[in-house]
Structures are given as structure tokens and as C-alpha cells.
């Protein structure tokens, strides 16, 4: 209740309307595409329920291909379907969507410029109890290094739905990353999703907070605390890590003078490093990282893990204090 009221006041049109998993947004988005985009086909590697692909599969069984537990093969088949003009959406966990099949994506999809949408659930720590073998924290880095790949990590179910739909009309390979747990929904369902265009959640003066995925919500919670402390925060949702909205980042930091990056990812190779590169090349500024500190995750409940691995609102609050302190 309190959160909602506060959010309403401070974050303009970004109002919490409930809780839903980002993967649910993928499921509804894919289902919506079924009737509007007849060339959309779907593939899954024995994880239909986890990926929430059932509605699509049930309605268009002839446009769905079950590949079993063979992710490499799935990526190749998707490339072949795309060659022949289809728009394949592949579905499996983030780990098996990226690290397991990096070379297949690299050669058969990215280098071959195939119109494949690699849709990845259970990214990051918040998949919870399955533990580190499944909690990939490197997938953003893996995919952003591929020339021509678009990398998207939406922040809630509505944004995931919108992104799922939007990428169908973008020609080229896309990596779409989402997660497992229920999570606050606060992006209006009619908010347009523009690939590569950062979404400002809130304007502010003292610091630029750049957050992606589940960490946008964590940042909103942090901003609530910080604003109560009298610190004016700018919060920008970098839903598209590649192509990066460098202009938005530079414009914001040129006003605030410091940056905090927030991501459910290894500190190395993710959004933080993309921002650090942008700033190093154009506007050197103090930057603090809120990210997993180059360790593997572990089993536990999502909220417990976010606390233990330094991705809680309180960690963002502290990072903001450090960043501001470091300003010239």
C-alpha cells in the first residue's frame, strides 16, 4: 500500500499494479504474436511450462517444435527456419540459451544474420533454489559481445510482454532475457517498447542510476529511501543493453556527475561495463557497481539471495552514497 502510494507520487505513471513473473509477460506476448504474426514459430528444449509457452503451443501446434534436451540443435534449427523466412522464438533457461550454445548462436545466427529471437527465462540469482549451475550471471556479457545482436532485459511482466511483441518487427537476432519469480509490475501495459531507447523512470540531480531487469524495482525501492534522505535521484531503465542508449547515459551523467549501475549479473562484462566504457570514452565519471561480485550464486530464496549477493535496495542506497561522495 505505502509503496504504491509513494510510487504513484514520485514515479509519475509508474504505478505498482500487482505481482507477476517476467516470464508470464513473455508467455502472453508470444501468444499475442500467434495471431498477428503468422511467420512466428516457437521452439522449446523440454521446458515448456517454465517458459510459459503453452498457450502458443496449444493454439498453434503446427508452428511449434519440441526439440527435447538439445539446445545446440535448437539454435541451428531456428537458424534454418529463419533462413526460410520464419521468425523463430527459442525458449529455454538463460544458461542453456547462451553459454551452452554460444558458438551455434555466433555462427549460425549472429554471423549469419538470422532473424532468430532467443528467449531466455530463469536468468540470474532470482531463479532461486536450483542454484549456481542454473543461475547464469554472464549471459548479458555473452550476448552483447556478438556483433549485430540486440540484447534486451525487461524489468517487469508488462515490459517483457511489450518487448516480446516488439522484437518480432525488428529484423535481426535478439536476446531477450527474463526471470522466474513473481515481481512487482509497474510499467503501464500501454507503455510503448522502443528497442534501444532508455526509459526514464524518474528525473533527478544528484546521481544517475542505470538499472536493468529485476534491479529496476530494487532501484525504485532504493530511490524511495534516498529521496527520503533528501537525495535527488535520476533513475533510468536500460532495458536494451545493446544497442546501448549512449546519448541518454551521457546526457544524464553530464547533469548528475556520477553513475550507479544495477544489474542481476556478474560485475564483469554486463551493463555496468557497457556504461563504464561509454563514460570512459566520452565523459569519465565516478561509477559504482551494484552487481554480483564475480562469484557463483547458490540455492536459496530469491529475496535472500539478492540480499546475500549485494543486490538489495540497501546496496543501491550505499552505492549511491559512495558515488556522490566521489564526485569532483
Amino acid at each position: 500500500m505505502e509503496t504504491q502510494t509513494f510510487t504513484q507520487t514520485i514515479f509519475g505513471r509508474f504505478i505498482v499494479t500487482g505481482k507477476k513473473a517476467t516470464r508470464d509477460g513473455f508467455g502472453t506476448g508470444l501468444h499475442a504474436l500467434g495471431s498477428t504474426h503468422l511467420d512466428v514459430v516457437a521452439l522449446c528444449a523440454d521446458l515448456l511450462g517454465s517458459l510459459k509457452m503453452n498457450d502458443f503451443v496449444n493454439e498453434w501446434p503446427e508452428r511449434f517444435f519440441q526439440v527435447g534436451i538439445s539446445e545446440a540443435n535448437m539454435m541451428g534449427i531456428a537458424a534454418g527456419l529463419a533462413t526460410a523466412g520464419k521468425i523463430p522464438y527459442t525458449g529455454t533457461f538463460a544458461n542453456f540459451s547462451t553459454g551452452r550454445v554460444y558458438d551455434q548462436i555466433r555462427q549460425s545466427i549472429a554471423y549469419s544474420d538470422k532473424n532468430v529471437k532467443i528467449c531466455a527465462s530463469h536468468a540470474g540469482l532470482t531463479l532461486g533454489e536450483d542454484g549456481a549451475t542454473h543461475q547464469i550471471l554472464e549471459d548479458i556479457g555473452l550476448m552483447k559481445m556478438l556483433p549485430g545482436m540486440t540484447v534486451i532485459n525487461p524489468c517487469d511482466a508488462n515490459q517483457t510482454h511489450a518487448a516480446t511483441v516488439a522484437i518480432a518487427d525488428h529484423h535481426g537476432p535478439v536476446y531477450l532475457r527474463f526471470g522466474r519469480p513473481n515481481w512487482p509490475v509497474f510499467i503501464p501495459s500501454d507503455e510503448p517498447f522502443v528497442i534501444g531507447k532508455a526509459l526514464t523512470i524518474k528525473r533527478g540531480e544528484a546521481v544517475s542510476i542505470f538499472a536493468t531487469g529485476h534491479l529496476v524495482w530494487q532501484a525504485m525501492e532504493a530511490v524511495k529511501t534516498l529521496e527520503a534522505q533528501g537525495i535527488s535521484c535520476e533513475l533510468i531503465n536500460i532495458h536494451t543493453i545493446k544497442p546501448l542508449d549512449e546519448a541518454a547515459i551521457i546526457e544524464s551523467v553530464s547533469r548528475t556527475g556520477c553513475a550507479v549501475s544495477c544489474e542481476e549479473h556478474n560485475r564483469l562484462g554486463g551493463l555496468g561495463d557497457s556504461i563504464a566504457q561509454t563514460l570512459a570514452r566520452h565523459l569519465p565519471s565516478p561509477q559504482e557497481y551494484v552487481a554480483v561480485d564475480d562469484t557463483f550464486g547458490e540455492s536459496g530464496k530469491p529475496e535472500e539471495l539478492l540480499v546475500k549477493y549485494g543486490l538489495a535496495p540497501q546496496d543501491i542506497v550505499q552505492a549511491v552514497h559512495r558515488a556522490i561522495k566521489r564526485k569532483g
Binding site: 523440454d46 515448456l48 545446440a72 536459496g300 535472500e304
Partner: protein, 305 residues
């Protein structure tokens, strides 16, 4: 009574020939069954307590892992990562960690009480087995499917270099055989005559999205392994007498220039009536009522953790 499991193609009845061993005494079988019953209780209680995990495959493999650790494997006291001068086991289908953890605990690798920490934060009993938290008994992480056989082969090669004539065992799922790396490993083991390796396939015919036949059929599985140059045995994995017998048998097939695979027919969820007969209990936890019902079917034999 058991039947060799063969989805299509000719039914091969394994013939054990002159090396056939006598069955172990019934008392030993009964003892193993008692242990397996406790292992099944542990599985149900762990998954129920964590409200996450994979009971189906775990229950199906309870008899096999019990027999392997309490009857078959030559193990040394304590735990040494390198496994010199003892048999080694690798679990490739890491999601059935509950059954392995229970068997490891009852084998003395760590306190049985630690089973209560399964899948909780700061536990050594991770959702999928790992060496990362130092849990004794585990030699490699698994969970991402298809990798364990390769690792087991590496350990087997190492034993060969060192002149250590102990065996290396490995368990894989059947859905897991859809991963190409398994067939890379199969090719390698045959080519390099890795004959101190016994791989068991949990042939429960189920995976996450349905039956293996429905999701991605393995077709004539015995023919596949035979064509890849392996010595193929069959086992009813939920008949303790047969498990013990075929494991004994498999050892006599080792050292003959061919890697050995046991196609082990099991029932997913074996031992808990409502978990059997489908893929549905691959990876969900029972609620309180279901837990009670399950435990009512499983005798407590060694004391609950």
C-alpha cells in the same frame, strides 16, 4: 520379475553366460531394501521441506544408488577428491540430488541431519550437486545435463594411467541422452576402450515435458549404444535383487575392451503411488497433505533426519 526395456526394435533378452554370479542372499537384499525405503522417505521430506526439487527421478533411482553405495562400490573411509584406490561415482543428471544426498549421508560422508538444509541458503546441499561448498562425496558439479559421462571418462582414464584397477560409475537420465555431448563421450569411450567405466541410464521414459517418446524419442536405445560400440546390459532398477545382480554382472563385463552401459528400467516416482505413471512429478514438491500420504507409503527404517 523384470523385463528388459526396449521401446522399439527387437527385444534383446540379456544372456549372462558363463560368468553369471549367484544372486546375493535374500537377507542382504532385504537390508538394502530397508535402506532404500529410508532414502525414499528422506527424498520426500527434503523436497517437501524445501518446497522445491525433483522427487520423481530421485525416487526412481533410490534402489540403484542404495545398491551401488551399500553393495557394489569399493569405497575408502573418509572422502578424498582424487578417489585413488577406490571406486568413484559421478551423477550426471544432477537434478536427482535428493537421492544422492540421502545415500551419501547414510554412507557416512556427512551427517544425516544436514539433509534438512537441502536447497536452503548457506547449505552445502545445493539444488544441484557441487564441489563448490565442499560437500564430501561430490567430485564435480552437475545440473546442466549431458556433461557427467565425459567427466567420468576422465576419471577412468586417470585410473588407467595410474594402474588403479578400480571402477568408475556414472548415472545419467534418459532424457539427458538427447544432449549430443553424451554421444561424443560414447564414441570416445569405445574408441579408447575405456572398459573400467560402467554407465547406467535411468530409463524411466519420462522427462519434463512428457514421456521421452512424446518429447524426443530415443528410438531403439539398445541398438544405439551397441552401434556406438558399448556392451549393453539391462536392469530392472526398481527390483533390488535385479539391481544387485546386474551390477555384479556388469563388473564381470568390465576389463574386456568395451565400456559397459546398463539400461535401467525404472518408474519415475517409484514407491509413492500418486507420483508414478507420468512425468508430472519430475520437478515439483508435494504439499503437506501429499507429503503425509507419501510418507505413509514408505517405512521409516533408519530413522528420519
Amino acid at each position: 520379475m523384470w523385463l528388459p526395456f526396449c521401446l522399439s526394435g527387437p527385444t534383446k533378452i540379456p544372456t549372462f553366460g558363463s560368468q553369471r554370479e549367484t544372486h546375493p542372499p535374500m537377507s542382504q537384499i532385504a537390508e538394502l531394501q530397508r535402506t532404500a525405503s529410508q532414502v525414499r522417505r528422506d527424498i520426500v521430506r527434503m523436497v517437501s521441506q524445501a518446497q522445491s526439487g525433483h522427487p520423481g527421478g530421485s525416487l526412481g533411482c533410490a534402489d540403484f544408488l542404495t545398491a551401488l553405495y551399500f553393495h557394489t562400490m569399493d569405497r575408502k573411509p573418509g572422502f578424498a577428491m582424487e578417489g585413488k584406490d577406490e571406486d568413484m561415482f559421478f551423477l550426471s543428471n544432477g537434478h536427482i540430488s535428493p537421492v544422492w544426498y540421502s545415500v551419501l549421508a547414510h554412507s557416512g560422508y556427512f551427517p544425516v541431519s544436514e539433509l534438512g538444509t537441502f536447497r536452503q541458503i548457506n547449505s552445502r546441499l545445493q539444488g544441484h550437486p557441487t564441489t563448490h561448498e565442499g560437500l564430501p562425496g561430490v567430485r564435480v558439479a552437475s545440473g546442466s545435463l549431458g556433461q557427467g559421462m565425459s567427466v567420468a571418462i576422465g576419471a577412468a582414464l586417470s585410473k588407467r594411467i595410474d594402474g588403479d584397477d578400480h571402477m568408475v560409475y556414472c548415472l545419467t537420465g534418459d532424457g539427458e541422452l538427447q544432449e549430443g555431448q553424451v554421444w561424443e563421450a560414447a564414441l570416445f569411450a569405445a574408441h579408447h576402450q575405456v572398459d573400467n567405466l560402467i554407465v547406467t541410464v535411468d530409463r524411466n521414459g519420462q522427462q519434463i515435458d512428457g514421456s521421452t517418446d512424446h518429447v524426443m524419442s530415443l528410438g531403439d536405445l539398445p541398438a544405439k549404444w551397441a552401434a556406438f560400440g558399448w556392451d549393453v546390459l539391462h536392469m530392472n532398477g526398481n527390483d533390488m535383487a535385479d539391481v544387485v545382480h546386474v551390477l555384479d554382472q556388469a563388473k564381470t563385463h568390465a576389463g574386456k575392451g568395451k565400456p559397459v552401459v546398463i539400461l535401467m528400467k525404472t518408474e519415475m516416482g517409484a514407491g509413492v503411488d500418486f507420483m508414478m505413471g507420468s512425468h508430472k512429478w519430475h520437478g515439483i514438491a508435494p504439499n503437506a497433505e501429499q507429503t503425509e500420504s507419501a510418507l505413509a507409503q514408505l517405512t521409516e527404517t533408519l530413522g528420519d533426519y
